[in-house]
């Protein structure tokens, strides 16, 4: 998908006025946060497991080349094929080629964020192949022709009424004239329609939560079971995954699995955790005939080389965005690309170029709650600050804020001049707003005073001036 992150500010302010979004996000807030907290509290060893997970991922990253080679060797041993894509475009091309070779007309897709990075759907459509998203959330937004707004719950921004409208509009072609509004009935209708699609899909494409170097298998976690159906029913199975997804062995995957569902949805374990690899065996009566893995770099090696390496520990649980107040206010679409929320504000500037997303690292209060809940102990605020440094060095911030910063820094570095300036400021503010104690408007502070008052200083003198007076 094309990055719209340059319009962050405008997107965000539109989002703030969207009442449906506000309602939808309120469901998410109550759902995710409380459930996660309870699930984590139920595991007394949580912090130990978390520390081990960090160590484990650090070890993998320090030996990433070795583990990728080991994984590749094992996939080949299982009868599969490994493809390597340097970026999203190449990944999409590989996938379109594989689908074309398989004479595919339709493709069943399980949710894959790397797939979104690579804009696979667009590429398939261009090649005349119909991609069908099978995760209910992805299916909803595919009908709405929207990108996902959350990495775990792609349609989190939609209300039930909006889903009902969408189904009514798109399902009439299957003879379903009646508009349904009941949640269970909506889920059932999607099941029936998608089941037909599954049966006719020629290729199944899914992501992977982990790639296991020990066995050449991948671990795929879903709640709906759509990932498994996409993997078993079509003749050809394609897995697309970032190169950082590799783990040494199944025990290591277990360590991460213990944190994944709890962090993502507050479940102690997801419904379907499948360990798969290779085409069906000679004796098997079901399963795919061909198995392919597409390993995608797309700037992951840049992160590995630089000071954002820790971001590669991310296993896409979504906890950071669930706990992010900015995300909660503006929703996922405002971020303008595949990954929203704190992790997105770190990843997007790397993957699409910081020139195209200069706002993202700044649109954060650095309150640190994301890092607090991140099961992979990724210091998200520090990583955002690193991006900020880049935007400063490349002069990507608005002239207005750069100038403001320069003026401020000039004074902050010179205590005596600073004293004079602060003395004048308080006097001025006190003068214009003293009687009420606050200002309803102030030139240059229009943003602040649009929705709230600006308190005026307590006295017409600074603390330092009063203190000096008191001392003498």
């Amino acid at each position: 998908m094309k990055a719209q992150s340059l319009q962050f500010k405008r997107n965000a302010s539109d989002a703030l006025h969207d009442e449906n979004l506000k309602l939808a996000m309120s469901f998410a807030k109550t759902g995710f946060i409380g459930k996660r907290a309870a699930a984590v509290a139920a595991v007394p060893q949580w912090q130990t497991i978390r520390d081990e997970a960090r160590e484990l991922k650090n070890h993998v990253l320090d030996n990433l080349d070795h583990y990728l080679l080991a994984y590749e060797e094992a996939v080949i041993r299982n009868g599969g094929t490994v493809h390597w894509a340097q970026d999203g475009e190449e990944a999409a091309k590989i996938i379109v080629d594989l689908c074309t070779q398989a004479n595919a007309k339709t493709v069943a897709k399980g949710k894959s964020m790397v797939g979104e990075e690579a804009s696979i759907n667009e590429a398939l459509e261009e090649a005349g192949i119909e991609p069908i998203e099978t995760d209910l959330g992805e299916y909803i937004i595919q009908l709405a022709k929207e990108p996902p707004s959350h990495i775990i719950a792609p349609a989190v921004h939609k209300t039930k009424e909006q889903v009902s409208e969408l189904f009514h509009e798109h399902h009439q072609q299957y003879g379903r004239q009646e508009k349904i509004t009941d949640r269970a009935a909506l889920v059932h209708e999607a099941r029936v329609i998608l089941r037909e699609k599954f049966r006719h899909a020629d290729v199944g494409i899914t992501g992977a939560n982990f790639l296991v170097a020990e066995t050449g298998q991948h671990v795929l976690v879903t709640n709906e079971g759509n990932g498994d159906l996409s993997s078993i029913l079509p003749r050809t199975q394609i897995v697309i995954a970032g190169i950082e997804k590799v783990v040494p062995n199944l025990n290591d995957a277990s360590c991460l699995l213990r944190m994944l569902a709890r962090s993502a949805t507050g479940q102690h374990f997801s419904n379907y955790t499948s360990v798969m690899g290779g085409p069906k065996k000679a004796e098997d009566t079901d399963g795919p005939d061909a198995f392919h893995v597409v390993l995608v770099d797309n700037h992951r090696t840049d992160m590995l080389a630089g000071d954002l390496k820790e971001m590669l520990r991310c296993f896409r649980c979504g906890a950071c965005m669930n706990h992010c107040p900015v995300y909660g206010a503006v929703g996922g679409h405002a971020y303008g690309w595949v990954y929203p929320g704190p992790m997105g504000s770190v990843l997007t500037p790397v993957m699409v170029g910081i020139e195209k997303a200069p706002d993202l690292p700044h649109a954060c209060t650095l309150n640190g709650r994301c890092a607090e809940v991140c099961p992979m102990s990724i210091p998200l605020p520090s990583l955002l600050r690193r991006h900020r440094q880049t935007t400063f060095e490349k002069q990507l911030q608005s002239a207005h804020s750069r100038y403001g910063l320069k003026v401020w820094a000039f004074f902050a570095k010179r205590p005596i001049v600073y004293r004079t300036l602060t003395g004048l400021s308080v006097r001025f503010l006190k003068l214009i707003g003293g009687r009420r104690g606050y200002l309803k408007r102030l030139p240059l502070a229009g943003g602040w005073t649009k929705g709230r008052n600006l308190p005026v200083p307590q006295h017409a003198q600074t603390f330092m001036a009063l203190y000096r007076k008191q001392q003498s």
Partner: protein, 215 residues
């Protein structure tokens, strides 16, 4: 240069490898160790006994559990369950259970997609998570785990393990590996509409475990 080599080169240079791109043969001992003798990380303690924990965890995720004296009771238990829930329609069983004295007409083999119910064996259950572990194969086709609306599983008490790792260990001990191991933890569900859970998204709407005593 192929993309494979380009990526591996970039990884190696990001990691400041002196020798440039690594080969399989360069694998350091720490990596070999982890590939060949996986360690066990910290595991959550089971709050109560293995079977109690298992049943509690299964019930949390809407799996129902009955306990049976012997495998001979399975057919009755299946009949009873179907009747109790008013379930008609085709019944498919995994070939591993074809030998039972079924009272109804059953199809044995991979799912046809039209059956209402499947009855399968499994090869383990994990107390820690409340999961059933199923492996793909001619005797236990994986489609039976996903396509029918109702999935009934025969589990032997001796198959229950404490933690995930025990499942992997028992796989490692076998000579040939299945294409897939499915850990199933409750009926299929989705929270994609307003974060409210609905069962039966794509896979089974009901899951029922028949826990058979003894070996």
């Amino acid at each position: 240069m192929s993309s494979r080599d380009a990526i591996l080169n970039r990884v190696s240079s990001a990691l400041n490898r002196e020798e440039g791109k690594v080969q399989l043969a360069d694998r350091p001992a720490s990596v070999t160790q982890r590939l060949q003798s996986p360690e066990i990380h910290t595991q959550p303690e089971l709050p109560t006994t293995q079977i109690e924990t298992l049943i509690k965890n299964m019930e949390t995720v809407e799996m129902s559990v009955v306990r049976l004296q012997s495998e001979a009771d399975v057919v009755n238990a299946v009949d009873w369950y179907l009747e109790e829930h008013g379930i008609d329609g085709e019944l498919s069983v995994s070939p591993s259970l074809a030998h039972l004295a079924w009272t109804k007409k059953v199809h044995s083999g991979p799912a046809t997609g039209t059956e209402a119910t499947s009855v399968t064996s499994c090869f383990a259950a994990i107390a820690e998570t409340g999961s059933i572990a199923l492996k793909s194969g001619a005797d236990t086709p994986a489609t039976l785990n996903f396509l029918p609306e109702n999935h009934l599983v025969v589990l032997k008490e001796s198959q229950v393990v404490d933690h995930l790792e025990a499942v992997w260990d028992s796989m490692r001990a076998q000579s040939s590996q299945p294409r897939a191991i499915n850990l199933v933890t409750g009926p299929s569900r989705t929270g994609d509409i307003e974060q409210t859970i609905e069962l039966g998204a794509h896979g089974p709407r009901r899951m029922h475990v028949m826990l058979v005593a003894g070996e």
